[in-house]
Amino acid sequence: MRTHGTDAPAHGPLSLRAEMKERTGKNTARCYQCGKCSAGCPMAGETRLRPHDVMRLVNQDARARLLADESIWLCLTCETCTERCPNGCDPARTMDALREMALEASPGSPPRALLAFHRAFLDQVRWTGRSFELGLVADYKLRTGALLQDVATAPGLVARGKLGFVPHPIDGVKEVRRIFEACEEATRAASGKKEGA
């Protein structure tokens, strides 16, 4: 198991498979490339790498190729693959870890729209403790420049009382910010170690 933040392994000497085991606790070597994960994946028709491809590349130590590929960002985290994998390989969790590694390695790597969304969402949580959708959509659109997309529906939301206009930070917002910082700190410490190694 990975020891978070404290003495996380350096990726230099570790094969990707071993690092994955550290991060997720799962043994990707158990994958026998049956493709059952990809057969059920709702995004398999849209991505270049399907879950079983991802598993194979992990086992082949194709770090750079995996981290640079958009496919890992196109996972819906629906867990269908994991649920049906005969070997308990957990492709969904493997994708999680790959995204995390991609961000650690190069914060700009994910597809712009998706990253913008995740950033916008998490920033809200960080600054108010919760998310509120109108601000989220606005922020996201600012970041992506997709100003007109979906705008038509916003008034409908307002009319139905579904969008609050003003975010109220919760009382514990300071605590939430601290949690964000602590997590970042821990992650930085981990990757710092890696670079040091």
Partner: protein
Amino acid sequence: MARIGVFVCHCGENIGRTVDCARVAGEIGKLPGVVHSVDYKYMCSDPGQALIKQAIAEKGLTGVVVSACSPHMHERTFRRAAGGAGLNPFLCEMANIREHCSWIHEDREAATDKAIDLARVIVEKVKRNVPLETIRIPVEKRALVIGGGIAGIQAALDLADGGAEVVLVEKEPSIGGHMSQLSETFPTLDCSQCILTPRMVEVYQHPRIRLMAYCEVDAVEGYIGNFKVTIRQKARSVDETKCNGCGACQKACVVKNVPSEFDERLGKRTAIYVPFPQAVPNIPVIDREHCAYFKGRARGMKKDACGKCKEACARGAIDFAQEDRFVTEKVGAIVVATGYELYSIGKDQPAAGLKGYGEYGYGTVPDVIDGLQFERLASASGPTAGKLLRPSDGKVPKKIVFLQCVGSRDPAKGIDYCSKVCCMYVAKHTMLYRHKVHDGEATVFYMDVRAAGKGYDEFTRRAVEEDGAVYVRGRVSRVYRDGDVVKVLGFDTLNGTPVEIDADMVVLATAMRPRKGIEKLAQTLSVSYDRHGFINEAHPKLRPVETNTAGVFVAGACQAPRDIPDSVAMASAAAAKVLGLFSNEMLEREPTVARVDAALCAGCFHCERVCPYGAVEHKEVRDRKGNLLKVVADVNPGVCQGCGTCQATCPSKSVELMGFTDEQIYAEVNALAL
């Protein structure tokens, strides 16, 4: 006073190179009680053995120690030599100064010192050895075969042809097992019934086979050569001595819609039934759970709800009052051949850790069937008389998808092993299908094709090359009903594309598992089984049909997934083993068995609880007037295998393992201290 002779072997250079054998003989010669100590080049050679015999005769030795190779190598040789010279063979032992010394050390001095120690230890032990007599037990030359599938049938026939009496116990109303359900069989595609039925009849008619169908083994006592078996004869409600198998009762039966086990629930049978027309014995059974008469009885009805079969039977064979009966049989050996059942695909699971395939819709989508159901659909004796028609609407399926490895090679669903026969039977199914439906499309989802047998790969290739089966490498994620078709969502891992097929029928190639209740039978027989429930062989390579209980053998698919050729080979091998056993009038056993000192024994029976073989019995101790003084433990030397666990457990040290007594072992430990 002990008079021990010690013989130190050079084994040519094998020992002599690193161990100074002369020094060993010299040092050991100085020990008290050692009256003769020599070294010699090859102790196991004829002159070497002659040295021992000569010394026994001339020096009046009371014990012999051969310091040479491993006792596993030559203990028998030297014991025989000692016995030949009139010394009790069990007064001869070996010190292992080759495998455990000269071959693993280079330093001559250290090796020689160690050799001296090892020899001294055995000298001290032998001083305390007592003469033992080889145990001889008589052999009952009858065999019990449990399970009447092809494996049990083959074993029974080989045994009976070899001259042994056989009791064949089958729990179903008829013998035949799964093979009787199959349509045609790989790798030759010959008709299963055609080759099986004659053998079933042969069993029935063989003068040395007692066929006990609709029976189960209830209890087993005793040991190799001398088992006492209690067999439950389940109530058929039909008097076997009167019935002539005319079938009138079945025609008359009012209950006609019981799902047929033989047809894998794709057909129906009556409440009084024979599983299939070629059944052996051809005597019906009343299924009391479904029979109107018995259901009425259970509900407390005064008037009998039915009795049509009884009216119809001209021979007065129907006997509603019949009850289970118990029979005991004495046998010398047992062959377990209880076969397999299929992995349960639906929601109901027979054991913890097994999960069905909710994603494949089996049990809710009627056109998703398992392998045996396909066999029944393809079989001329099946519910559709051999026409391939799908269960939901009786249409001819134009597109069938076969999924391999269902249940097997799937740790997440509870089984990690490969079921071995399903690759073959899927190939067979595609061929049978294409032979019956010429324009049908057969698609197989597979991960690997495992066809390692004589003519097997050729067979699967034929399915592809000549019969046009389409093999897609990948596992299927989901199967569901979509209007008239069954949708199959898979992935072709070789060309990297998702595959979606609208099939008319889906066949799941389900894995073989051990029979329900096998664990209980195994415990009754004291044989071990693996974590799945397959019976363990004594050694995976060298003793494949023996079990770890002497006198109990195993054959067929109850030991691991097997096809018919393997099951038959195994059955013949088991029969040969049993016949070998029966070729002796008496069995000889090493006398390293436990013995209880009745005077000391406190009757706590800790020994009984730990004995892995159930060798400890209870014995009453009475005074001269016959008053019961106490109950003590008594070890049955026929059953005891000499593990010594009882002795290590006994609080009062009242049980001793001959050949490894406390006194002997302490002497060894003490001898190490110098």
